[in-house]
Symmetry: C3
Subunit: 313 residues, 3 copies
């Protein structure tokens, strides 16, 4: 059974990126591929880009789409084995996953990190529960530890925009008033490992990402130094991983500015808080790729769904 | 005007079951029947199976589907005649039902029992309001007193699984921490009246269902005795009918176990609380039919929509 | 770029009304026009008629429809320029509008008046933000100051029902327990300016609408006098414009009755509070046009979408 749960499910990133760009050139070229096939999008959390782009991608392939806000429209799920379910949960993931699979050919799921229980978040209980029990392909629309549809869209954007043999790409932390998950940063790091690029991560001390993911990657705590000669700067906030889910700094010196960006292109997954994460002058300039990244979400989702549809034909 | 409000709207249960099984064998065989026709699914309560399976059934028939969570997305409805509407309700069922009918060819509605006002629940004001005023076919996706799409799916499942001329079927109450409606039990009883089977209901004293429904049906308060020689055991919690909406017992002795089930098949409409209603060992065994029941919800809805579409052609 | 933000976006009302009536006669006649085109309906507020009729209209034209409750499913939007976004808003309208436009060919938006900040309401920040930044046609599904899809449906209804060369049409205020926006009344007034009719507005003192809109239109504070010889009476509550958003009167003498209506036809946009805004005897009589008005919402939306689709081909 094929799934799209992380970047590891891509056999060849360069090939997927090329195929996605071909879909972008003619989005409806496979409009009969998904005919008579149903995708169910289950949201346990809010969503704008993912909600719209995944629907759009599925419709481009001729699929029928069912969207459900599982949290507010369904039943509270139990994930533990052997529980005596006399408390708040009404349905076990074993049943829920199998049931959804009776009505859908592919299921896509968004379930954010709690940021309170690291072990549970890393177990990715929602995603893995569906993977284990549903028996149909599962797509990760952002889990507690990864956002591989975003990272694939970012790879498409990099491929379209890059003009160098080996560009320098920097992932730069930025301040944010709320504690945010690590999913986007994690998947961006995983994706960059598959790129032929100089890749540097920069953030204040205390904000190191999961060391199993960043092993072998240069981390530079001095943002200025890290940004030197950058071609692409991917800016993103995340909360502390060591002091799990905590906001340790709101330091405005980390906000991305025109001066810091210099000649690089600016990337961000959105939504973005203006003048906290990045200055207006950057977002409103030609150097911002954020709208193009959002646009590529459609083709990132579409290439994933195309591969999965082909695998279940 | 044809509707599907209760089992009474089925002219021949065996025939509908056979037609549903034929739809299951080739779900898209009538994919042009619903072309240009719209179904509107109105949810006043949460739903997983009903939400997904009814959408799927409608799409299998080529219909266009509009889903609306009436409670959170629409206006609070008034059901009383002659009210001076100066309180919490913004729109009368008279207008709402007629308005929905301007945009839909069929309307399907879920509106649970309050469990606080027996008389009002039995009046089925939402379902009957739409029936009275909409002027289009109305489908019951679980009302305050019945869940006929579930019962029809159960009939399909029984038909597929039964190997005896006259099987023994037991409806067995189970404990549950929350007060649940009688709708599923009621419709299962109504459906069993149309079956050639030995049918027994078992529950603790105080949990008798509406006597108008169970008239002539054997009720055995000793669960062990009731289960003797059973071929199918349908387990379900409901709150007290006499002491309306109350939880009178949480007695774990009524939980269904492998030993009690013996050689019977286990049935439940889901969602189910594990190790309260039924032990893991039952749900995780080959004897559980719950996923097959969920699967048959699609074909139960599909045969109903097919009949209604044919009636309005 | 064409939009449908107010009645001003109609080049010829009589011609649009005739085309809408032709669509009504055969709603699927242009079912291929919208093929491969996507409309995104964004709701910042509740909706019944607008939600269903706009979906229906888009499907009649063969469009793919994505519905999103932006308030509960998306991110809190910022509308001010230059804000340091360290408070409750997560995403700026600049990004949100451009992002939605990556996935949709047309965007339709509902965003009610706050009724607390007149200046902000009149700036129509949501609608104008999308107009300014999205770069795709924007449809007003009721903004803080107008409801032009409703007014266009009302024009269709008047055209179907009127038998006189120059009918008398009265817009009559009615009491309501809650403070309601001016949008429906405003757009009705704008629409009536384009009609060949005697048009009178009547309401208690203190309820004058925006004088820029009503300039040159007769306002009569005596309801009885205003209603004399009326052919059509459009009843609607709105809160005070001068004492912005306040309920100044609950005077039941303004409730529409059969006697007051005399030989006129009754119109209202719905939802309507019975026996507060209008007596049962009126709504339940042959003289009420409210269901026909609701029906015409489909063709009002459909002619608008048809014009926009033709403009972006």
């Amino acid at each position: 059974m094929q799934h799209y749960l992380s970047l590891k499910d891509i056999d060849s990133l360069p090939q997927w990126v090329e195929e996605a760009k071909s879909l972008k050139a003619d989005p409806r070229q496979h409009k009969y591929l998904g005919q008579g096939k149903t995708i169910c999008l289950l949201f346990f959390n809010n969503s704008l880009r993912t909600r719209l782009s995944t629907q759009k991608a599925a419709m481009n392939l001729g699929m029928e789409v069912i969207v459900m806000n599982f949290g507010s429209e369904g039943w509270a799920l139990e994930y533990e084995d052997g529980t005596v379910m006399d408390q708040g949960t009404s349905e076990h993931i074993k049943e829920a996953a199998q049931v959804v699979a009776q009505y859908a050919d592919i299921v896509a799921i968004r379930a954010f990190a709690s940021l309170t229980d690291k072990k549970k978040d890393e177990a990715e209980v929602v995603m893995n529960g569906f993977k284990k029990y549903a028996g149909i392909p599962v797509v990760n629309m952002e889990s507690s530890v990864g956002h591989p549809l975003q990272a694939l869209a970012d790879a498409i954007t990099l491929s379209e925009q890059n003009t160098k043999k080996r560009p320098k790409v920097v992932l730069s932390w930025a301040p944010h008033p709320k504690a945010l998950p690590h999913a986007v940063a994690n998947s961006f790091v995983e994706m960059m490992k598959l790129q032929d690029a100089d890749f540097v991560i920069t953030h204040p001390k205390g904000y190191d990402l999961n060391p199993r993911l960043t092993k072998g990657i240069e981390v530079e705590y001095d943002q200025e130094k890290a940004l030197e000669g950058a071609d692409f700067v991917y800016v993103k906030n995340w909360s502390s991983y060591d002091d799990y889910g905590k906001v340790l700094s709101l330091d405005g010196n980390w906000t991305m500015t025109k001066k810091k960006l210099a000649n690089a292109k600016f990337m961000h997954c959105l939504p973005v808080r203006r003048n906290i994460v990045v200055a207006d002058e950057v977002l409103d300039s030609e150097d911002s790729l954020v709208i193009e990244q959002a646009n590529n979400r459609t083709y990132s989702a579409q290439i994933v769904l195309k591969k999965l549809l082909e695998s279940i034909k």
